[in-house]
């Protein structure tokens, strides 16, 4: 079946512009996660959704970052007034349910470059 998909695969933007990154999780997966992978770094947790609600936004680095999920499916991560330090690969993952015993399936990521 289809895996997690993300779009766009690459995004180049100018400092100060807003960007939207999209994630389509595996159908039927209730839990959805966003991570950020900066150059030479591991993945950094950003936000977790259970259904449409986001009980854990603790990893969002600033109030310029926001995310929503609609219909228990597609999620959008929005970065306002982008800064150069926002350049990274943004990865989305989904799992059937919440829980560390549930495998998180990752998308291919969106590579964001802020000039």
């Amino acid at each position: 079946g289809a895996g997690v998909s993300q779009s766009p695969s690459n995004k180049v933007t100018e400092k100060g512009k807003d960007v939207e990154l999209r994630c389509d999780p595996i159908s039927g997966h209730t839990a959805l996660y966003w991570y950020r992978q900066s150059l030479g770094q591991g993945l950094e947790f950003l936000i977790y959704f259970q259904g449409n609600s986001a009980p854990d936004k603790s990893g969002l680095p600033s109030d310029r970052f926001s995310a929503e999920r609609t219909g228990g499916s597609v999620s959008t991560l929005t970065i306002q007034r982008t800064q150069q330090e926002d350049s990274a690969v943004y990865l989305c993952a989904s799992s059937l349910q919440r829980g560390l015993q549930e495998t998180q399936y990752f998308g291919p990521g969106t590579r964001l470059l802020v000039l």
């Binding site: 996660y33 991570y35 591991g42 947790f45 829980g99 560390l100 495998t103 291919p108």
Partner: protein, 114 residues
């Protein structure tokens, strides 16, 4: 704070040689431990995971890992590497204050010599 250390940024091995990638985690009474692989242009794929029980865990693609509580380690091994194993490997631990959050190491890039 919890952390995961992968001390080797790059490792190069010859095809057919054995492989061991190191991973150490900071703390966790009964850690949930994972190894993921990321091939170029691909998302992360779960290789194996450890929750409890037998400390030697078998995964996909011929990989295995051994949990050693005394050393806080969860090293990944493969007896004979194939060229297609060239990728980046990430070790992760389940956060103790969360039922879903993963804490990742910075990764080890594996290069395979023909």
């Amino acid at each position: 704070a919890q952390s995961v250390t992968q001390p080797d940024i790059h490792i190069t091995v010859s095809e057919g040689a054995s492989l061991e990638l190191r991973c150490n985690y900071s703390y966790g009474a009964t850690p949930y431990l994972f190894w993921y692989v990321q091939s170029p242009g691909q998302g992360l794929q779960l290789l194996l995971k450890y929750f409890s029980g037998d400390t030697l865990v078998q995964g996909i693609k011929g990989f295995e890992a051994e949990f050693k509580r005394s050393q806080s380690s969860f090293n990944l091994r493969k007896p004979s590497v194939h060229w297609s194993d060239a990728a980046e490997y990430f070790c992760a631990v389940g956060a103790t204050d969360s039922s879903y959050k993963l804490i990742f190491g910075s990764g080890t890039r594996l290069l395979v010599r023909p």
